[in-house]
Amino acid sequence: MEKKRRDFMGLSLGLFTAAGGVGALYAMKRTWDPLPSVKAAGFTTIDLKDAPENVLVTEKWRGKPIFVLKQSKEMMAKTTEETKKRLIQIGDAHYMVSVGLCTHLGCIPGYDAEKESFLCACHGGTYDATADVTKAPPPRGLDIPPFKIDGTKLVLGETGPEYEKMLADGTTLAV
């Protein structure tokens, strides 16, 4: 009888402690989460109107660099069906807009306007002018941030139909 009571007490104590432990772990996990203020500051509007051809413009969104590269006629001639999908069309102009962090490990690739390509100095990956990958180790082209077209402006962080299409056909991954 005594033994049974002790077992019961041991078991109850164990269960309560375990439940408390799980609760504490959840609280710890939540404490490490990004703050709501960090999450809320995630929208940026950029104007593409004055972007020059074949000159890399770098904007900032969620602390990350955003590459904007207006494509020239010659650059457009080099695109394929696949890489063209990566560009954002506003009127007649085509823009490459992407997160300027190498998809390998997140360094910022540099743009060479003469070669019309990006080189990531960290591990030697390269990208073409549409930011599609041309040499490993990066597993894919630069990611395209969620955007919504608003006249000649882009709202980064919001999701428009053009972006949804890119996601659906696998042109980019969700960032």
Partner: protein, 404 residues
Amino acid sequence: MAHFEKANSIGEWLDQRLAVETLKRVLQTEYWIPKNINFLWAMGMVLAATFGILLISGIFLLMYYQPNVETAFDSVNYTIMSEVGYGWLWRHVHGVGASVVFLIIYIHMFTGIYYGSYKKGRELIWLSGMGLFVAFSAEAFSGYMLPWGQMSYWAGMVITNLFSGGSLHADGLVEWIRGDYVPGQAFLSRFFMLHVLLIPLAIIGLIVLHFGTLRIPHVNNQDGEEVDFDEAAKLYKEGKVKESKVIPFSPVFLSKDVLVMGVYFILFFYLVFYHFEFAMDPVNFDPADGLKTPTHIYPEWYFLWSYEVLRPFSTDVGLIAFAIAQVIFFLLPFLDKSPNVAPASRRGLFKFWFWAMLLDMLVLTFMGKLPPEGIWSSIGLVAALAFFALWIALPIITAKEKKL
């Protein structure tokens, strides 16, 4: 209440209440160390002393360092370096210590590998030691974030990105670790916490465990000889000090340790006063800038070998290779199938394995520092493949090893 007699001395007073005599006997005067060892056996105490120095210099840096993305850089490079009296001393001691401690850790590890000090009852010594290696790595990395220079920021970016698991795209996990989309205030604060509290606590606990695991199997010796410690201790206590194969840890062995430490600290403080720059990357004297990657990112020298295992492969293969390289040394006691505890020179093929592994890690280290181009890329790839080939070969060649 227990019965207490009046004490005749402070020592006796303490002994009545704390059993200090028993403690002293168990931990020092009757903790036996074989005589048949060399200066490489002093590396453990050299490491303990270096950790002590890192702790003390860290405490003084902590008085002026500010874990804030706006002020961190200046609090280190201006306040500590030019305003605080002798602030430069703590910083250079801390920086040089963090670098040199890895040199000694690697010497300590390869000594253990060479003499087979990781098997036949000594497995836990090896495992707890590897735990310390991992904890020191995390401590070094988190500390490297704190000056919030360009290398801090970009090393933080690249290393936390490793947790996205390549094609798994666990970006949520990466953002969770950082507390932000990119390394920012949340990231700096939490790595500050890890560096000054959580990881040092873990290190102290692991050091206690590491010492504890030594107690029963005792330290190895130059011939891997199985010493009868009871018999040898009896001889020593009978006064037959010459005939006995052992000496007490303290004061006899420790006095030898102190000699090695003396030589070591001459070198250490030579580096602190005259060559501290080797531990101070010039790129990290630019403040962190999330919109500009330094042209060439490389880790501190002690991580170069594992960085080079990651670098020549595509993302996924590289990550898997990197993950294996981080943990494979834990498995050493279980992959070495030979029953022999002996120096590598007497163990047939293992002799070549040992030197090939040491050489390969040196090659990986040098290649990791060079830009990933041309011939360096190729040598790096070969060395990375050789690293894995050696680990695959280990159980095969040790299983065939003749029993000594």
